[in-house]
C-alpha cells in the first residue's frame, strides 16, 4: 500500500480523479442551476459542487507541486 501511494501511477491516478472531481462538481452546480435556479433549497448542492471543484483543484496543485519540487 505504502509503495503504491509513493508511485508515479498513484500520482497520475490522483490527477485523473482530481479532474473527475472538478467535472463532477461543475456538473452538479450547472444541473442544479438549470433545475432549481438560485433558490435557498439549492444551496447544499452548490456547496457540494464547490467542495468537489476545490478537492479536484487541490489534487492538481499537489501533482504539479510534486513535479516541480526538489
Amino acid at each position: 500500500m505504502r509503495r503504491f501511494v509513493r508511485s508515479a501511477g498513484y500520482a497520475r491516478a490522483r490527477l485523473v480523479s482530481g479532474a473527475f472531481f472538478v467535472v463532477f462538481g461543475l456538473a452538479i452546480a450547472v444541473r442544479t442551476a438549470a433545475i432549481a435556479g438560485f433558490s435557498s433549497a439549492a444551496l447544499p448542492a452548490y456547496v457540494l459542487g464547490a467542495a468537489m471543484v476545490a478537492l479536484g483543484g487541490l489534487r492538481f496543485r499537489d501533482y504539479f507541486a510534486a513535479r516541480s519540487g526538489p
Binding site: A36, P44, M52
Partner: protein, 549 residues
C-alpha cells in the same frame, strides 16, 4: 508511550515517538476516525431533520470547515500528541485545559460505545440475529463483548497496524465514491430532492436537533493532530492532509444527504409501522435502520446495490470497529498526558507491569463506556424503564442518546479550541505558523504585530450555536453532558487542592523551552531557527522599552 511532549519542558528527557507517519498515513489515520462518522450520522440526521437533512449537514459542515482549519493551523504550529486538549492547555491555562480535555474524554468514551453499537448494527444487516430492534439482549451482549474485547486488546498492547488502517481507509474511500457515483448517475432526481425539501421541511425544533446531530458526522479530525507527534515533517504534511480530509468528509456528508433525499429507488421500500408507503429517507431514519443507514442506502442503488448489500455492511463494521478502538486508545492516552501535566491524578499514568500500557486509564474509561452502554440499552431491555424514558426524555432511542452526548462533548471541546487559537495568536505570535486560517486582521498587541483570525470567530459562533441547539433539543444531553463537566471540575479542584497546586490558576510553564523541544523533535529545524530569531527580536524590543525580557 506518548505524552504531550514538551508540555512541561521535559520532553528531551522522555522517550519520544518514532516519526513514521507518511502523508497518506496521516490522511488515513484521520479518515479511519472521521470517515466512520457518516455511517452513524446519516440515519440519525435523516430521522431528526427529515427534508432539511442536507441543510443540517451544510450548517454543521461549514462549522466543521472552520474547526478543521483551526486544528490544521494549531497542529502544524504545535506538532505534539495532545491535540485539542494541549492547544487549550497552552493557550488558556490549566483549568480550561482540564475542561477541554475532560470534554474530549467524554467524547472518546461515547466514541467507544457509539461505534461499537453501530458496528453491530451494520453487521446485523447480514446477520439478522444481531438486530437491535428484534433481539435487544443479543445486541447488548455483543456490544458489551466488543467493548470488553477492545479493552483487553489495548491492555495487552495489541493495536491494528497502521498498514491495515491505510488499507481499510483506501477501500472505504473507493467504496463510498462508487456508491455515490452509481447513486447520482442512475437514481438521483433533482426534482425529487426539491420536492422532498419543500414537502418534508421539519419544524425549527427538529431542524436544530438535526444540526446538533449532524456535527457528529464531523468529529475526529482531532486524530490528525493526535498523530502529529508521529508525522514526518508535520508542518508541511499536516496542512495538506488535513485540507484533503476536510473536503473529502464534507463532500461525503453533503452528497449522501442529498442522495438520500433525492434518490428514486429501483425496488420497493417496506411499508412503515402503520402500513403506509414511505420514502427512502424516512426508511433510513427509522429505528431499524438509523444505525446502518449507509448500508441500507447502498443496497437500494440500481445495479451496484446487489454487490453493495453484501460488502458495505462488512466494510462499515470494520471501519466502525477501528473507530471504536481509537476511542479506547485515545481516551487512555489523553488521560495519561493530562496526568503527566498534573491535570489528573497520577493513577492515570500507572502502566501495567508486564504489558507497559496505561491499564488503569483503559479500564476506567472502558468502564465509563459500559455505563453509557447500559443507559443507552436499558429502554429496549426493560419495558418499565422504557416508560420512564418516554416520560422524561421523549422516548429517545439508545443510539440517539449516545449521539446527544457525543454532540455535547464535541461542541464543548471545539468551542475552547477556537478561543485557544485566538489566545495563541495574541500571546504566542513568535511561533512560526506554516499554515494560517484565512481572513485575518493585522494589528499591534502588547507591542507585537499579530493577526486576528476572523474565521475562528465565525467558527466559534457556529459551534456555540450547535452547543445551544444540543442543550435545547436533547433532553438527556442537556443534563448528562453538563453533569460530566461539573463532576470533572469538582474532582479537579479537590485533586489540585490536595497537591497544593493552583486551583483556578496555572502552574509555571516554560513554553519557550517546550516549543524549542517540540520543533526540534519534529525535525522542523528551520521553524525552530525562525522561532529563536522571533523570540530574540521580541526580547530586544522589550529590553529597549525597559520591560522584562
Amino acid at each position: 508511550m506518548a505524552t504531550a511532549a514538551g508540555v512541561s519542558g521535559k520532553a528531551a528527557e522522555e522517550p519520544s515517538l518514532r516519526r513514521s507517519v507518511t502523508p497518506w498515513g496521516s490522511f488515513s489515520w484521520g479518515y479511519s476516525d472521521v470517515g466512520a462518522d457518516i455511517f452513524v450520522g446519516l440515519g440519525l440526521v435523516l430521522g431528526a431533520a427529515a427534508g432539511a437533512s442536507n441543510v443540517a449537514f451544510l450548517f454543521a459542515g461549514i462549522v466543521y470547515v472552520c474547526i478543521g482549519l483551526a486544528y490544521t493551523e494549531l497542529a502544524a504550529a504545535y506538532p505534539v500528541a495532545g491535540g485539542g486538549q494541549y492547544f487549550v492547555f497552552r493557550g488558556l491555562g490549566d483549568i480550561f485545559g482540564f475542561i477541554a480535555g475532560w470534554a474530549v474524554l467524554l467524547d472518546f468514551t461515547i466514541d467507544i460505545v457509539l461505534f461499537a453499537w453501530s458496528c453491530i448494527d451494520y453487521l446485523s444487516k447480514l446477520v439478522p440475529i444481531l438486530s437491535f430492534t428484534a433481539h435487544p439482549w443479543v445486541h447488548f451482549i455483543v456490544v458489551f463483548g466488543v467493548i470488553a474485547g477492545l479493552a483487553l486488546l489495548n491492555i495487552i498492547g495489541v493495536r491494528e497496524s497502521s498498514a491495515f488502517n491505510e488499507l481499510v481507509s483506501g477501500l472505504d474511500v473507493v467504496s463510498e465514491t462508487t456508491i455515490l457515483f452509481f447513486g447520482f448517475l442512475f437514481a438521483f432526481e433533482p426534482q425529487l430532492l426539491i420536492h422532498t425539501m419543500q414537502m418534508s421541511w421539519p419544524t425549527p425544533f427538529n431542524l436544530m436537533n438535526g444540526v446538533s446531530l449532524a456535527i457528529i458526522s464531523f468529529v475526529g479530525l482531532e486524530s490528525i493532530s493526535q498523530a502529529a507527534q508521529e508525522t514526518q515533517r508535520p508542518a508541511s504534511v499536516i496542512p495538506r492532509t488535513s485540507i484533503s480530509l476536510i473536503l473529502t468528509i464534507l463532500i461525503f456528508a453533503l452528497a449522501y444527504s442529498n442522495l438520500a433525499l433525492g434518490m428514486a429507488t429501483g425496488h420497493t421500500i417496506p411499508l412503515d409501522a402503520h402500513g403506509h408507503a414511505q420514502p427512502l429517507w424516512r426508511y433510513l431514519g427509522n429505528e431499524d435502520n438509523n444505525g446502518a443507514a449507509v448500508a441500507v442506502l447502498a443496497s437500494y442503488v440500481p445495479y451496484f446495490g446487489v454487490v453493495a448489500a453484501l460488502y458495505v455492511p462488512v466494510l462499515g463494521a470494520i471501519l466502525l470497529l477501528i473507530s471504536s478502538n481509537s476511542g479506547v486508545f485515545g481516551s487512555s492516552r489523553i488521560a495519561y498526558a493530562m496526568s503527566g501535566t498534573r491535570l489528573l491524578p497520577s493513577a492515570f499514568q500507572r502502566v501495567h507491569p508486564k504489558f507497559r500500557t496505561p491499564a488503569v486509564s483503559i479500564l476506567m474509561f472502558c468502564g465509563f463506556a459500559i455505563v453509557e452502554l447500559i443507559f443507552a440499552a436499558l429502554p429496549s431491555l426493560s419495558p418499565p424503564v422504557r416508560a420512564i424514558y418516554v416520560r422524561l426524555f421523549r422516548g429517545e432511542d439508545g443510539i440517539t442518546f449516545l449521539g446527544d452526548l457525543y454532540a455535547f462533548g464535541a461542541a464543548a471541546s471545539y468551542s475552547f479550541v477556537f478561543i485557544a487559537l485566538i489566545a495563541l495568536r495574541l500571546n504566542d505570535s513568535q511561533s512560526p505558523r506554516r499554515f494560517k486560517m484565512p481572513f485575518n486582521v493585522p494589528f499591534t498587541y502588547k507591542g507585537n504585530r499579530v493577526e486576528f483570525p476572523i474565521v475562528a470567530v465565525i467558527g466559534f459562533i457556529g459551534i456555540v450555536s450547535i452547543l445551544a441547539f444540543t442543550m435545547i433539543t436533547h433532553e438527556i444531553g442537556r443534563v448528562a453532558g453538563p453533569l460530566w463537566i461539573f463532576f470533572g471540575i469538582v474532582g479537579y479542584l479537590i485533586y489540585r487542592r490536595r497537591k497544593g497546586l493552583p486551583m483556578f490558576g496555572s502552574q509555571g510553564h516554560d513554553w519557550r523551552k517546550a516549543q524549542i523541544n517540540i520543533l526540534q523533535q519534529a525535525g522542523e529545524l528551520e521553524m525552530m531557527d525562525e522561532y529563536l530569531a522571533n523570540v530574540k527580536v521580541m526580547d530586544e524590543r522589550r529590553a529597549a522599552a525597559g520591560g522584562p525580557a
